[in-house]
């Protein structure tokens, strides 16, 4: 029975099965990760103490499950944790909390003035922020204002302004790592000091001309 052609035939059969199985599993995994859900580790201390609370002491990072289903990403509420491509670096992905959605007016939190991390020197962003401080900033259409919970060390909309909603890739569902916090949503109930006045984008009326033109262009 174990003649040479039989051995080769069986080896090829096994290799074929293994290859197709691998391709099926990886194809399904890629499809699910792109369109349905993804887990990722949250590196950095911009979302402490809710997420990755021990990052600056032990370096332990939490793993979060993100919902990437496109229809549910259209409704972003204030307080959601979102995963988005960073506007300043297209290869980087960031996780922050939505503070205000389109049409809302916000008053900036004075503690969140962006300065250089190591010595507090002024940056070009500081001047832009200073010019907006004390005024009411309206979040433009199709944009959101994101902030990290940790006001001491967070690169967020205070640094680069409101971000386009199209940059958002996912919405956080629950913590999956470490196991003792599995399934919890520790970020709920956060009270931000950035004052938000809910509002709507004017769809018709005086201010709607340019917005409608952009939307239909």
């Amino acid at each position: 029975m174990s003649t040479a052609p039989n051995v080769i035939r069986r080896a090829l059969n096994g290799a074929y099965t293994l290859t197709t199985l691998t391709l099926f599993v990886s194809g399904t995994a890629i499809f699910l990760i792109d369109n349905v859900a993804e887990t990722t580790r949250i590196i950095g201390e911009s979302m402490t103490p809710a997420i990755s609370p021990d990052y600056n002491t032990t370096g332990a990072s939490d793993g979060l499950l993100f919902n990437k289903w496109a229809p549910s990403l259209r409704n972003l509420n204030r307080g959601d944790i979102v995963l988005f491509h960073s506007p300043n670096d297209p290869e980087k992905v960031a996780v922050k909390r939505v503070i205000a959605t389109e049409g809302d007016s916000i008053i900036l939190d004075a503690r969140r003035r962006p300065t250089r991390q190591r010595d507090g020197a002024e940056l070009p962003e500081t001047r832009a922020w200073d010019s907006m401080m004390g005024r009411v900033v309206m979040v433009p259409e199709g944009h959101i204002w994101v902030e990290g919970d940790n006001w001491r060390n967070s690169g967020d909309s205070n640094r680069y302004g409101p971000i386009s909603k199209s940059l958002v890739q996912g919405k956080a569902v629950a913590v999956v790592w470490p196991p003792k916090r599995f399934g919890t949503r520790p970020w709920e109930g956060f009270r931000s000091r950035t004052k938000v006045t809910p509002g709507e984008i004017p769809r018709d009326g005086e201010g709607a001309g340019l917005i409608n033109a952009i939307r239909n262009g």
Binding site: M1, S2, T3, N6, R9, R10, N13, G14, T20, L23, F24, G27, T28, I30, F31, D34, A70, R74, H85, S86, P87, N88, D89, P90, E91, P140, E141, G142, H143, I163, S164, K165, S166, L167, L210, I211, A213, I214, R215, N216, G217
Partner: protein, 236 residues
């Protein structure tokens, strides 16, 4: 199976298991007069591995005795459908995709209706994109809409903020991680002149060719850049 003159086979001993290659049962007309010669083809051992294969009906040498029933056909169809769907998803996300364009903002490069664009996804997130490339991107204001425009400035470049010969000629520097996109039909295009620099993360790919009619070959899109100074070496 061997004749019933032998004792029942002990599973741990040598037993030929393969029926498809089983030797034909000896006919009663040929009594075994000659001493039994060792079999010419080696018989397989019933190891635990092979027993598992047989239990799971995965014996690779068993003949494929599948009848062409409807459920078998459906299973085959689903298998190939799933395989094709997953392969297509990976390919269109990271390889190439075709999209139909409509709108007048890219005339005369892209027609207002009926052009199919071949988009290369290897240029997504602005990788290897240069000034002059026609790119497809997610609209920064109109969430969910995909637009096609031409890059006229990458990060760090200085670009004219408004239309030429209109406005004051203000130039802006494109911030890091962004690009400035403008439609080819300046009069009717809504682009970075209205909504500002476009984050490169929104770029989904570069349009490499357009297919205007099905009876023509796809045409590559021109890069559209011309030298600022046309050197003419002839002495007139």
């Amino acid at each position: 199976m061997p004749t019933n003159s032998k004792p029942p086979p002990n599973p741990r001993r040598f037993v030929p298991t393969d029926k498809s290659q089983a030797k034909p049962a000896p006919t009663p007309a040929s009594p075994p007069t000659t001493p039994t010669t060792p079999p010419t083809t080696p018989t397989p051992r019933l190891t635990l591995y092979r027993k598992t294969l047989r239990y799971l009906h995965l014996n690779p040498t068993a003949p494929a005795a599948r009848h062409r029933t409807f459920s078998n056909l459906l299973g085959d169809f689903l298998y190939y459908f799933l395989a094709a769907g997953l392969a297509l998803h990976v390919f269109t996300k990271n390889g190439y995709t075709l999209g139909q364009a409509y709108g007048i903002s890219m005339l005369p490069t892209i027609a207002s209706f009926g052009d199919w664009l071949l988009i290369s996804k290897t240029y997504r997130h602005g990788r290897n994109c240069h000034v002059g490339d026609v790119v497809s991107f997610r609209h920064p204001v109109n969430t969910g809409s995909y637009n096609v425009k031409r890059i006229v400035g990458m990060s760090g470049d200085f670009v004219l903020a408004y239309t030429p010969e209109e406005g004051e000629g203000t130039m802006v520097q494109v911030p890091e991680g962004h690009c400035w996109v403008v439609g080819d039909d300046l009069k009717w295009s809504q682009d970075s002149r209205m909504y500002g620099p476009l984050p490169l993360a929104l770029v989904t790919g570069k349009v490499v060719a357009k297919w205007s009619s099905w009876w023509r070959w796809p045409e590559a899109l021109e890069q559209g850049l011309r030298d600022a100074v046309i050197e003419d070496g002839d002495v007139d």
